[in-house]
């Protein structure tokens, strides 16, 4: 029993990592007023590239690097559409996402069903030998620690730094930001690229460390969970980190439930993150003040400085 609990509590960190990375990236883009719905496509393309490169070269750093490159390349197409051409953000995101999914099956085609060894997790000296908390907290992948650190740094950036506040102003009211002399388009571009880097890392982690292996459709909706997470965490990095861990535990929950000898339809477990997201969204949107405190007001609206 304790084995199972430790397994779920420890495993949830690993499962949460790609969700958290992608969600933090998307949250920053959305804070700057850009909704990028191509997360699933970016993660998939990055995952395929990361696996292919790491498998061929044995160099996981190169794999992560090129995966991030692939994801950023997709996000530049998205940026040209929404920032350059003022195209609709929703449709542009879906378009680039579809493109990414197609490219992922193309890039991964020669690597179907291949696996490789995951790099060993970090085992922090002394701490990892502590009972209970040792295996749960201190035997995780370096990327997992990185993801939670990024969540913290993003919180700090948005809440405590001047650039963070500017980013939020750009997402609240781009016209005012422009009139204050901020380069709205450039800030949004940086935010989109940051989102792509995070999605790329999340995808690369999924195919080289979490699974590790490639087969078509590997990301299997994790990009959409990340989009949900941003809302679930009401655009706040620390809540998103908590949500990612919760969703990660839910993804493992049905294994734990089975291990305890119960049987719950797995579809209920799989639906829960989405149901909870809808509930949270309805709760925070219900009055103008709450939504203003949480969601970026100009989310999804394009801005042209010379209009």
């Amino acid at each position: 029993m304790t084995d199972t609990i430790i397994f779920v509590l420890a495993g949830a960190f690993a499962t949460a990592t790609p969700l958290l990375l992608a969600a933090i990236g998307e949250a920053v883009a959305e804070k700057a007023g850009v909704m990028n719905l191509s997360v699933e496509g970016m993660m998939a393309f990055a995952a395929a590239v990361a696996f292919a490169v790491t498998y061929q070269t044995g160099n996981i750093v190169l794999g992560f690097g090129l995966a991030v490159g692939a994801s950023v390349a997709l996000s530049l197409v998205f940026s040209i559409l929404v920032l350059g051409f003022s195209a609709n953000q929703i449709v542009s995101g879906l378009a680039v996402g579809i493109l990414g999914l197609g490219l992922s099956s193309l890039a991964g085609r020669s690597f179907e069903n291949l696996t490789m060894m995951a790099p060993a997790n970090l085992s922090l000296p002394v701490l990892s030998d502590l009972p209970l908390v040792g295996p749960i907290l201190f035997r995780q992948s370096a990327i997992t620690y990185f993801a939670f650190a990024v969540a913290f740094l993003t919180w700090w950036f948005l809440a405590k730094t001047r650039h963070g506040r500017i980013t939020k102003v750009v997402g609240e009211d781009p016209a005012i930001a422009h009139n204050l002399g901020f380069a709205v388009i450039r800030i949004r571009l940086f935010a989109i690229i940051f989102g792509a880097v995070m999605s790329g890392l999340g995808g690369a982690y999924a195919s080289t460390i979490l699974t590790p292996g490639w087969s078509d459709g590997l990301i299997a909706g994790r990009g959409w969970i990340a989009v949900a997470l941003v809302v679930f965490g009401t655009w706040r990095p620390l809540r998103i980190a908590f949500g990612a861990y919760l969703f990660g535990a839910l993804l493992l929950g049905d294994l734990a439930v089975q291990a305890m000898g119960f049987s719950v339809p797995p579809q209920i477990m799989t639906s829960l993150p989405y149901v909870m997201t809808i509930i949270v969204l309805a709760a925070v949107s219900r009055n103008a003040l709450l939504i203003r405190l949480n969601a970026p007001v100009s989310l999804g609206q394009n801005f042209q400085p010379s209009k």
Partner: protein
């Protein structure tokens, strides 16, 4: 690594006039349809690997075309029809989900012969076959019974379908036949044919509960095996020898050989004796065998496993011979009785020694 064979230009011409005319002197056109992208192990790999057997046996008497990534859904019929329009004489369908589209096509094209893997409905020109995976599973169960130190086996299984239950039951019967001290076998139901990260998590979950042999039963991917290798526990699997994915800890695999059945069917088409019947092919036909036995097994253990395989081949041994108790404590197979094909194919119980319950 394109698995798609370019059809001759003739195909394009034929597709326009929409006729399935069979020229007697032409080589027989065989098309194999796989539901997913093709890897180096697993279901689609095995579906497509049958091509080699066909080409070896029939050489230039046949043309074999392979199409992959044709999953169930409204597009599958289009791919099948296109193949028939291009002159396919024998269509081999590699997914259970191809059943209704394949049946519809067979009804409309009486000259076409269809071989459907895993289905249960037949027409005069629509044959089906299933492999007796449970036979190799029993043998791998023996290997697992020998190899376990913790007396704890773990199984990651796809869906609780009758075929899967049969394979799981045979595994546990095999393991308990050589190791009566086993603790109840733990099972995780994926309820999915395909979910690599969950394959891995499930294997980890079983290992965390003390399992030191993990059986990946109809995995979508080799993830569970790679996980076992990484964690240093033994791995067992169905369909393909996965030694490459677990070079040190690969204990045993049931290696399927669909090509044997393909070849028999193609021969029957050439001879004009094709029947729309069901084939349940096993060790005796060469459609399944144990492979990738670990070097950690002793010579005696290995010999015992292979001896059981020989006994299955000559018919002197059948895993589903009573008395067998189910895990609710009542008799599932009466003493002296051996399950027949339809009883095996509609199996709805778990044998004694499995720590899992079925829904419904």
């Amino acid at each position: 690594m394109y698995q798609i064979v370019r059809a001759p230009l003739l195909g394009a011409v034929l597709s326009m006039c929409w006729s399935g005319t069979l020229f007697a002197q032409e080589p027989l056109d065989v098309a194999i349809v796989a539901p997913n992208a093709i890897g180096d192990v697993g279901w689609d790999h095995e579906v497509v690997r049958g091509k080699e057997v066909l080409e070896e046996r029939f050489a230039d008497k046949i043309n074999v075309t392979v199409v992959d990534s044709v999953g169930e859904g409204p597009n599958a019929a289009r791919a099948m029809n296109r193949l028939v329009a291009n002159g396919t004489d024998v269509l081999i369908l590699g997914s259970f989900g191809h059943m209704s589209d394949g049946m519809a096509l067979a009804k409309k094209s009486p000259d076409l012969k269809v071989l459907h893997i895993g289905g249960y409905q037949n027409l005069p020109n629509f044959a089906t076959f299933t492999v007796r995976h449970y036979q190799a599973s029993y043998l791998c169960g023996m290997a697992a019974g020998y190899a376990t130190k913790n007396q704890q086996l773990g199984v990651v299984a796809a869906f609780p379908l009758p075929e899967v239950l049969g394979i799981l039951n045979a595994y546990v019967l095999g393991a308990r036949s050589v190791n009566p001290d086993l603790k109840p076998v733990k099972v995780v139901w994926l309820n999915s044919w395909y979910d690599p990260p969950r394959d891995r998590s499930s294997a980890e979950s079983l290992i965390s509960q003390g399992a030191d042999v993990v059986y990946s039963l109809f995995p979508g991917t080799p993830s569970a095996l790679a996980t076992a290798e990484e964690k240093g526990v033994y791995a067992v699997t169905t369909l393909s020898d996965n030694s490459a994915h677990a070079p040190n800890k690969h204990l045993c695999a049931g290696q399927a050989n669909f090509g044997v059945v393909y070849a028999n069917v193609v021969q029957s088409v050439i001879d004009g004796t094709f029947e729309g019947k069901d084939t349940f092919a096993g060790v005796a036909e060469g459609a399944i065998e144990v492979a990738g036995l670990s070097k950690d097994l002793t010579d005696e253990q290995r010999a015992a496993i292979l001896a059981k395989q020989d006994a299955m081949r000559d018919g002197s041994f059948d895993p589903f011979t009573g008395p067998v108790m189910n895990n609710a404590g009542s008799e599932a197979i009466a003493s002296g009785k051996t399950l027949n094909t339809s009883e095996i194919k509609s199996m709805d119980f778990l044998v004694q020694g499995i720590d899992s319950r079925l829904q419904n």
